[in-house]
């Protein structure tokens, strides 16, 4: 593994071992509380109509050429149970939550990881009659991860055989990675690998953002795609191809407080304050503001807060919610919600807000946590987020 990926690999605790040798690295301490992954649809993925048309074309071409060898085609399968997933050994670890939903052909994302289990079928046809002479059912486990302070991201696809019969037995998979948008492929490893019930085929790809490090303020999305097909000495050439795109990754150098480029997945991050945590007065105030005053930002709703970075507007928000005329009792500071650093703040949000005198230390420490949350989740101007008040 190249040295420049070392940090990316170590930070995500991935075990990678392609073509012999493996690199196991220690788990980095998570800096933000993971909440839960969110399901999302991603296009393009090879459509059912496309795979059918490609297969028909291959069969016709083989017939026209007078071939007597079978032709293999790949298609996406229907949703299958989690039992299928456990039918094979997983060689490379993916996040624990990755297969929570079985092979439901969906991506699940957190701010820095995306994972999904997709069901695929390989069907081998007799060239003359079209009769099926072999099938393989397999799962494609896609996993991508980025880091808050690295300009690269990684994408791995594992093809796990669930069952195979007839002319599909003993097939090999191979492929490549591509990317579209503001990215370039820096490494694409998906050599031909024979698939068995005990051995999956693995493809690994690294991408770099192509946004510039300077001047500050740039951001751009890139989308990685894995492509693969199958070969078998019994067939008339390789199978048709499938492609699986990972959710678009946004990289930026537009985050206040850092000069580093970083990349995030399309997931709305959640700031967590607990009433039993270090800032109980702050947590209680936000809970009151969200539940009683029905102010936006509550976790579980789609009334998002959006970050505001204009210093003058932030000051106006602050001065509307907490003007100097409000008396501060000793040891207390004025707390406002929605935060002054959001477009939903007292002035920019249209006048719906809550203020309360709370413990000064809790206000400052809660503000520090908000600053770290913005930094560690790369929450940019107008980025959405939510606030979860835990018991």
């Amino acid at each position: 593994m190249r040295l420049r990926y070392k940090k990316l690999l170590s930070a995500s605790a991935v075990t990678l071992g392609l073509l012999g040798g493996s690199l196991t690295t220690a788990q980095a301490t998570p800096r933000t509380t993971p909440v839960s992954s969110a399901q999302m649809a991603v296009t393009p993925k090879t459509s059912a109509a496309e795979t059918k048309a490609a297969c028909d074309a291959r069969l016709k071409a083989a017939r026209d050429a007078g071939s007597t060898k079978p032709v293999a085609c790949v298609t996406w399968g229907t949703k299958t149970s989690a039992g299928d997933r456990r039918a094979a050994i997983t060689a490379w670890p993916t996040p624990n939550w990755c297969d929570d939903h079985g092979a439901d052909n969906s991506w699940y994302v957190t701010r820095f990881k995306a994972c999904g289990v997709f069901s695929g079928d390989l069907t081998v046809h007799d060239t003359r009659t079209g009769r099926v002479t072999g099938t393989m059912h397999y799962l494609a486990v896609g996993y991508a991860y980025s880091e808050r302070d690295i300009k690269a991201w990684a994408y791995q696809v594992e093809l796990v055989e669930v069952s195979a019969s007839g002319d599909a037995v003993g097939s090999s998979a191979r492929g490549k990675g591509t990317c579209s948008g503001k990215c370039k492929v820096t490494e694409s490893k998906f050599p031909s690998q024979v698939m068995t019930r005990d051995k999956e085929a693995v493809g690994q790809f690294f991408f770099d953002t192509t946004i510039q490090a300077r001047p500050k303020g740039a951001k751009g999305e890139g989308q990685g795609t894995a492509h693969w097909n199958f070969t078998n000495p019994k067939w008339d050439g390789p199978s048709t191809e499938l492609a699986l795109s990972v959710p678009p990754v946004r990289c930026d150098n537009a985050l206040p407080g850092t000069s580093k480029i970083g990349c995030v997945m399309p997931y709305v991050p959640v700031l967590v304050y607990a009433k039993s945590g270090p800032y109980p007065e702050l947590a209680k105030h936000i809970q009151y503001a969200q539940n009683t005053k029905h102010l936006p930002g509550k976790y579980g709703t789609t009334k998002y807060l959006t970050r505001l970075t204009d210093k003058d507007k932030i000051k106006k928000n602050r001065n509307k919610a907490c003007p100097s005329s409000r008396h501060r009792p000793a040891g207390k500071q004025c707390d406002e919600y929605p935060f002054a650093s959001t477009w939903q703040g007292a002035s920019t949000g249209g006048g719906h807000f809550s203020w309360r005198m709370i413990n000064a230390t809790q206000n400052e420490e809660g503000g520090k946590a908000l600053g770290r949350f913005y930094l560690y989740n790369r929450v940019l101007e107008k980025d959405r987020f939510l606030v979860w008040i835990k018991p």
Partner: protein
Amino acid sequence: MSDQADYGRGLVPVQYHQFQINDEDGPAGPDLPRTHNGLIEVQDGIATVHTGIHTGDVDVTVTQHADAPAPGDAEWDEIVEVSLHSVSGDLMVRGLMDDLDEELPVLSFDGPGDYRLRIHARGRDTAIDLAPDEITEYYLIQVWPAPRQDTSVLRQTDSYGTSVRTS
């Protein structure tokens, strides 16, 4: 008194009563609680300077020195000396949530290593918990390369510092 290597002065954005001193590539030091001196604390490797204002800009001067200079004169309300480490040579003054319009001189001017910072503050009692439009607080950070030593308090006279130390 030593030769001054470089000097810079500018506005530093403050939110939630704080601005930061840190090196993005590694911890600047072990934890130093906010109640220790009420001016500078260290948490999770990031140093925080406590300001009287809640939101706005403060005036910060950075002076780099080869050796320990004389501390600032009687105009300063609070003076604390702290040792901070720079992993990458990028120990800087930063906003909690904002970039500086113009960066101040880097504090780790001699590359990665240990530095002594003498933080001076005045005006913290002028606009406590407010977001004033005018500049009401001033800071002077003297920095020189020096092995790690205990934090030392040279002066404590403002009431905002008292409130942080006792909270």
